[in-house]
Symmetry: C3
């Protein structure tokens, strides 16, 4: 093998067993890579391979080199929530598996993996094409809704980055699975993120993040996807469960299409703080009553909440089924889409099924909303005359 391929279980440079502290081992590998790759044109990075096994992580990994690929042999998900709610005496296994890292920092830090490199201007320090692939990051213990919770973070990017990939990973029992600050064109695809407070958080500003083909399973305390000040994120082909909550603050030109969305709570997609010209198309929204309680949002908030202009909601199905006694405020008609503020939002060809008199609501501050074959006359509550309505017959 080339000296750019490391196996955490066989690398002879480590001063500690990877089973005792895989974080320390990977940091030592990174130091070794840096000692060998010393010029601007001789830094291709390396592969760090994690074979199947249970590894403890006591020391945070700090990645400050580009092109590093940390790779295991499977996301190894096992539902720790079901385990913790069930008698497990007769279970065959009670831990996640595959390439399984237990986050048990004793170093005073919260993250398993911190990606950060200092330097200005941003291009100097910008980290390129780092890859996390096919292993499991496990927060070990937690309780619903996981946030506030054990304060643990799986992967946190805290300096500018380009073209990074998080693929085939498993995350479980973390308060924050993935945080990416300052992202340009990240690809987050085919992951299994479950029983975490928040799944994916794009902080700072980001461009054209691609979030596709994932399972994102979170509870009612955090976010499935959170983004702020983002341009053009693409959220497509995901299955987002139990408390689907996609929250966008000042995010423009997002494309949220072909997702399967399920929640026990309102606010499945919220376009906030002037988020504009976003597309929400061909998604399936399912709202039921189930596990957990939360007063974060009431049923007037909307499954889709829009506070911005020029947004498009087309070709979606909304399937609402909540017992009347579980609606808050009591006796209210639940809101499917709330246009809270903004001009020229466009709803067309959406289909609502509901066990209750569900509503599309246009608040008084809104102007020129179009509601085309997206609600019956009875389903529209317009608190402004500045709108156009073509009722579903």
């Amino acid at each position: 093998m080339a000296d750019t391929v490391y196996d955490v279980t066989t690398w002879t440079g480590a001063t500690v067993s990877p089973y005792v502290d895989i974080g320390a081992v990977i940091n030592q590998i990174i130091a070794d890579i840096k000692s060998k790759q010393t010029t601007q044109t001789t830094r291709p990075g390396a592969v760090v391979y994690i074979p199947p096994g249970h590894y403890d992580l006591l020391t945070r990994v700090v990645i400050d080199i580009g092109f590093l690929q940390i790779k295991g042999a499977g996301h190894g998900f096992l539902s720790e929530a079901i385990r913790d709610e069930s008698p497990t005496g007769s279970w065959v296994e009670t831990l996640p598996g595959a390439s399984h890292i237990r986050v048990k920092n004793t170093d005073g830090h919260q993250e398993a993996f911190l990606v950060s490199r200092s330097g200005a201007p941003a291009t100097v320090g910008r980290l390129n094409s780092i890859v996390f692939q096919d292993f499991c990051i496990d927060g070990v213990s937690s309780t619903k809704p996981y946030t506030p919770g054990n304060s643990k973070t799986g992967i946190s990017f805290q300096s500018d980055n380009d073209a990074v990939r998080i693929e085939g990973m498993g995350f479980v029992y973390l308060e924050h699975a993935i945080i990416v600050k300052g992202a340009d064109a990240p690809s987050i695809t085919n992951n299994f993120i479950a029983e975490c407070g928040s799944c994916i958080e794009l902080t700072g500003a980001s461009q054209v993040a691609k979030i596709t083909n994932n399972f994102l399973i979170s509870s009612w305390g955090g976010y499935s996807i959170f983004a702020e000040n983002a341009e053009g994120p693409h959220i497509s082909g995901n299955t987002v469960l139990w408390a689907c909550n996609i929250t966008l603050h000042n995010v423009n030109r997002a494309s949220i299409t072909s997702n399967k969305l399920l929640s026990n709570f309102p606010s499945m997609i919220a376009l906030l703080n002037g988020s504009s010209e976003n597309l929400i198309a061909s998604n399936h929204f399912r709202r039921v009553h189930g596990d957990g309680t939360s007063n974060r949002f009431d049923d007037k908030f909307g499954l889709v909440h829009i506070a911005g202009s020029g947004n498009t909601v087309t070709s979606n199905q909304f399937s609402f089924s909540v017992p009347a006694q579980n609606i808050t405020p009591a006796g209210a008609d639940p809101t499917i889409v709330l246009v809270k503020s903004g001009d020229n939002n466009y709803l067309a060809a959406n289909h609502i099924t509901s066990n209750l008199p569900a509503k599309v609501v246009l608040d008084a501050a809104t102007t020129a909303t179009k509601v085309l074959y997206s609600a019956t006359t009875a389903q529209l509550d317009a608190f402004t005359s500045s709108h156009s309505m073509v009722a579903t017959p």
Copy 2:
């Protein structure tokens, strides 16, 4: 390498060559894993690597451990149908390749891989995060329509499972490529399944299966995708060919979006037995006349057939081109969408092109169907007055 990584060609514990019986070798590997992983908290599973080569499988593999990853180096598809219909004297190669397993059971079983573990309640036995990746399962010989056929099955899950993955695999000349019973959140993505009787069958009950980005190529005898009693499957981004047949029995809240669908036969998507609140959006349906004959469905059955309530069909293109003499029953107008039964089904913004006078048909039992810009007046055959029509001008 860690002792959790096995290569079928170099593992010294096997009593038979993997080229002679890879099934026996993998069973022996599994036994070895079980002998080493003996407690509830020391069962991370293992990787079984299959390098490129032609391997025979005489003995069914039985997987009853979690987190196992069986991985090869490519799906290795070669069209055995074209091979069998052509003179191959001058061909360079006549077999599939890459990590290529020939299913030739001599053990009386039908499956190449059976995943099953006993135990009750289900959580005890539930198998987590098993991975099949990047190899080829080849049934060796078959004839169209492949079912009933050689009775061979590629992978069969027969006990409850969570978060399993089938990715990058190739399947050819099997009666059943993939059967998954009792699935919770499986990911079936980026596979090449071709010249099989049925591609993917979700039996028993399942939750939130994700079937994305696959080639699914089947003939007229079986199913591209079959599901029964499923909640919320997500079928997106697939290319489904020659006899696209997605059949859902008592399946609710499916999302079938952004697929490219082609068939030589009716029943491209059938929502049966009360399947309700499913979304069919942004798909391209192409129906032609070509290879094969079948009397399973006639042209009154519909490319889309709906027997359930609250379903949504939006933003699809239907492109129908079949010579009049090939329509059955003779002289009939072919049906694009048949709403057979159910209440409140919703069709909007669909576009039909056809060489014949194609129809959207609402049967007498149906109520409150909406047909909005999805058919011209001449294209609607409504056998009930309980519907709403806004004709495509």
Copy 3:
């Protein structure tokens, strides 16, 4: 390891270092494979593994065997355009990385990888299931718009092929990243193609190409995706940037759905030469003014240009924002959708936002176009009475 697994850095059969000429090494590996795999039924192919490192390629690789998998450890993208436009004195690294191949042919050829096998009929020579995965092909130096440019091509398939895969690859600074002639069911997924003249070109004729989940980033000289004489390509879930240009010549039944599209220029999707029955649904189109100048198309050409019949444009968002002084011809109203020719094209439920009086234009030659809730009355310029309009209110 089996003898079907090669590592370019450790294989002892090479007569040159892979760092000096990886092309020569891979050609020698292919010769070695051919010397060992000598009959129609003993040709499973092999894996060629490229560990992280910087490799020069002086000699074109010629692949004339099936099932070959060339695989690295990451796409290794680093923006060479930003590098070349910035002072890099303090940068940590200035080259792409991971498994990084610098294309520096000294053999008189233009391609890094040529896939071609002679033989007739096509089935004899058809190459199956070749895989390029997870490495970086770098053209080393270039200037915008990259075409005409350094004349370098990353991967070129020039004979008939079936079920090939290009996945997880990086391409940068190439005039042509990927050319596939005579493709049947190729899968091009999860790649990062940037700063190339053209990203994906499907030449000759092709069937059911699947192009999904990619970043495609090109400049104004070439194409994001070009296809000619293609049946049923499926373009879904991609993020296509800076000069999104998807050009289809005589392409029928394409499905272009759920893509995020951004361009500084007109002609984001062009259906030319009678391209018919294509579906464009649930895409987000963003048009801005920015980097680069081009007179290839003016703003009357349309973001979507249709010269064909029976096409469908539904459920898309068009977000146009270009300063008036940057519109060509000066003073023109920019065209969002131009139906140039053809019969029975169908636009429904599209939403246009624009800083200027944008238009949907139906040329005089067109017949029976439907424009349903896709433009206000003021936004339609119809030069034919043969159309139907339901204006967005």
